[in-house]
Point group: C2
Chain length 215, copies 2
């Protein structure tokens, strides 16, 4: 499992990248790794970090079970970071790619994704929309049927050879997840049910929500 | 402002409708009404309730500033409930329609909606997506560009004559909000920035989130 921790603190209004913000006294990244480690052996976890954050990680992980975690250096974009992590993955494996700031992924979500990916070559967790949705156009918008859409979470799991090949193509620049990279390369994406708590922590409100999930 | 409280407790796994569930010791509906009353005079608020919940409301509101709130009886569907509330609205007014289970709408969101609706005839609050999104088809799905979509909140505000006319048309059955009814009748929807805390409380996780917003 590749855990992508490339984020900066800009959106959160903090100086440290959001994966290092404390939640109940512990960095979000450690919460996420602990959850992942319930399902995946630690030697099969790869952490992708910006070079500027390596010292912080070494200090944070020292003395924990993650202190010898395999790390890869992140790049300028999420695309580059994932590509860097994928270089450490054997092509005959299955690989999951997970956001470091999603500490509430359930064991069931992780297990379902790997099971489906093993059968079908890919699997990503999705949830239904609770709010109505609109498509925006320049100067206007139009209601869409929310039952025809799904919100996408992680881990996104793939046949390693195929996702590695997909990431060898030039970055088209508008990918927001790995499934769209995989799909763009001509592969088929399969969906599994995610869990509603599996939020991406990107704003101060999300931090409050995260604290409530821990209490 | 019409506050639509037609929900049943089925999705929440409770016996009482979700608008009556307690949050910090107070029914969600009362939290919502108090927030609305910071911006709108109480005599301009109309509560739409299922007939079966009137006794509960009378008991709950007794002794509060909402005990003489104008009420309308809800119908079998949300469409019928909104239509029932609209009958009490003067056609020359502006009307907002708000979900009873969205207690965290900001004063700024309410004010922006009414201001834009006064200028343009309609306004609804929307927020950007944080997760990637996919369109599902029978047996398959496809990544979509999340920057081209918005999640829709309430209050949704309209020229009263036009929204009343829109609700006089037959219910096509697939409307999940008032904006889509208004738009289907040939009117134009205008968007304003909503607030991220303005969630719709529909699940047990949402209740935890709501509690964290109050703390």
């Amino acid at each position: 499992m590749i855990v992508v921790a490339g984020g900066s603190g800009i959106r959160m209004g903090t100086e440290i990248p959001k994966q290092f913000i404390l939640l109940n006294g512990k960095a979000i990244l450690l919460h996420t790794l602990e959850r992942i480690a319930e399902e995946i052996e630690i030697e099969n976890i790869i952490l992708v970090l910006p070079e500027s954050e390596i010292d912080r990680w070494v200090a944070l992980s020292s003395g924990t079970k993650f202190e010898n975690l395999k790390c890869a250096l992140g790049g300028a974009t999420r695309y580059d970071s994932v590509k860097s992590g994928l270089k450490l993955i054997d092509k005959d494996a299955l690989v999951g790619i997970h956001d470091a700031v999603r500490p509430f992924v359930s064991q069931n979500t992780i297990a379902s994704c790997f099971k489906m990916a093993e059968e079908k070559g890919s699997a990503i967790p999705v949830v239904e929309l609770k709010d109505s949705i609109r498509r925006v156009f320049t100067g206007t918008s139009r209601a869409k049927d929310r039952t025809k859409f799904r919100l996408v979470q992680t881990p996104q799991c793939f046949n390693a050879a195929r996702i590695k090949a997909a990431y060898e193509k030039p970055n088209k620049g508008n990918f927001t997840d790995d499934a769209s990279v995989y799909e763009e390369a001509g592969n088929r994406i399969h969906l599994v049910e995610g869990n509603n708590e599996n939020i991406k922590i990107t704003s101060p409100e999300d931090l409050k929500i995260a604290a409530s999930f821990l209490s």
